[in-house]
Symmetry: C2
Subunit: 313 residues, 2 copies
């Protein structure tokens, strides 16, 4: 089933202890699309500038991603500059040049209107709401947000949260959004704001899924689920790991007939798998080349490092 | 099989967002013993002062713990004062009164000399080495340490590390000990210092086991293993959670005929289980009352929250 993603397609300049890159393809919608494309059809809505060249578009089309919704505008694309040091768990943003992204008005191509799955990547919640209202018949809506929208656009964000099947944010964002320091209480408060389920990402420690009465059709409310992250000896560049997690997570869900607790758990593992690939090279390099066989092999490693009785499966 | 533990039996005064307690029984050896006592016989070597009353000793003996190695000295027992706030992942130490602990000279009762398992809780590495050398015939040695010994007593600590089958420390301590920010590289460096295996604890995110060529008899070196922690809506008091983890971990191992990779994995789950109980009440209250049936039920919850195909087992 096709996923429609709306978000940023951008260029990043990144410095990590392993080196630096200038103006490489990035953006939440890019990482998400590449990760999800291993599982299902993906359609992108974004805006780029004149620096977005055919070679950049080819990164998407080579993975079968539909780029008809990537609008060209005069000027330059969104450009983010950041650096990682120490444990590399958090980026230091050195520059954010919104450029054409500042006036982004998502337009949904006619050919996209039958998409059954919608992903609202981290953009202005006002735009997230607008896209969602134009895609009233989707089967499922997932979304992301960030500290800036939580602290400064709470009212619009509240409208987005009410529309979400799954909200994917990190623990710091969950604490900020809920005002609670304890993860479980934070999750309860966030779920009370609207999302049917919450995936709280913990960086190198994995992620926790939290469920409510509306998470699944029928049955008891499952306990939280903890998915591991792969211990990586070399985190070359963590940029986009969270968006890649979301892509693997949602791509797998969209490939399945129904969202059951077991599908959700497996989706969290696939999320971790895609996040781990994203970290292995600068930018999107690793995700561009990853094969489904590599993904399945790594999924089994995730099982092996977290399951009691599965030394090899 | 009996575990001999050497470490602190102390009193703690603790403030958390859930309340405060004054002068309640604590100390690494206390938490460790109580947690391990659900799995195997435990013998304690420690020193206490005149404020250690029969009611305190009864906490140990009620769980079948051998207290003949708890020496009485004139003066007061070790007293720690600390507070937790925010995410409660780290204590703020407000006071450390070593008292009789300052002149602690571990003496091994004759009746303890046939102990097969030795746990060196967090004390001066010089004392850890001394005890270890007097227990030359034990089957296995595990130990803990802390930032203070890592930064100021590196040479003595190095001698301890060479003696250990398993070192249990948290990620901050592993980074400090290795000088590496990346967890996997930190683990590699720590293992190169001597311990056959390393359990790196991540607080509310669980723990990771790292293995080397000498971790197990024969076979390939297993991948790291990630055990979850239980998402708790109410962390009343995290004091002693790490020591309780160690007690559950090592107690389970000592109860098994052989240390296999699977036993190690299950031991990490039992560690998490005992750590989660410790957090539910102030001080040792919860550990004093916990039953083996409660432990097994929670073990199954740990399985449920981390395994793909085990909604209930």
């Amino acid at each position: 089933m096709a996923i429609l993603v709306v978000g940023s397609v951008a260029f990043d300049s990144i410095a990590t202890p392993h080196g630096k890159v200038e103006h490489c393809l990035g953006g939440a919608a890019t990482y998400f699309s590449l990760a999800a494309s291993s599982f299902t059809d993906v359609r992108v809505i974004a805006v780029v500038g004149e620096d977005f060249l055919p070679e950049h578009e080819a990164v998407f089309t080579a993975r079968g991603i539909d780029t008809r919704g990537i609008e060209r505008a005069p000027g330059l694309s969104f450009h983010w500059t950041g650096a990682y040091a120490g444990t590399m768990n958090e980026a230091e943003t050195l520059g954010t040049d919104l450029n054409v992204f500042e006036r982004f008005e998502p337009k949904i191509p006619e050919a996209y209107t039958d998409s059954e799955y919608l992903f609202l990547a981290n953009i202005d919640p006002l735009l997230q709401v607008r896209v969602r209202s134009q895609m009233a018949n989707v089967r499922m809506v997932c979304g992301d947000t960030m500290n800036y929208w939580i602290s400064s656009h709470a009212e619009n964000l509240a409208k987005v949260l009410r529309e979400l099947d799954v909200l994917l944010i990190n623990d710091g964002e969950a604490r900020m959004l809920s005002g609670e320091q304890n993860s479980v209480r934070a999750a309860e408060k966030v779920l009370a704001m609207g999302p049917k389920s919450l995936v709280m990402k913990h960086g190198e420690y994995g992620a926790t899924g939290f469920f409510g009465a509306r998470s699944f059709a029928g049955g008891a409310v499952p306990r939280p689920f903890r998915a591991p992250a792969l211990p990586l000896a070399e985190v070359v560049d963590p940029t986009g790991a969270g968006d890649s997690f979301a892509g693997g997570f949602y791509g797998y869900i969209a490939s399945q007939p129904e969202l059951t607790p077991e599908v959700f758990r497996r989706a969290m593992f696939y999320g971790g798998v895609m996040g781990s690939f994203a970290c292995e090279r600068f930018g999107t390099e690793r995700l561009q080349a990853v094969t489904r066989a590599e993904i399945e092999a790594r999924f089994e490693i995730f099982r092996e490092i977290s399951h009691l009785d599965c030394a090899s499966v």
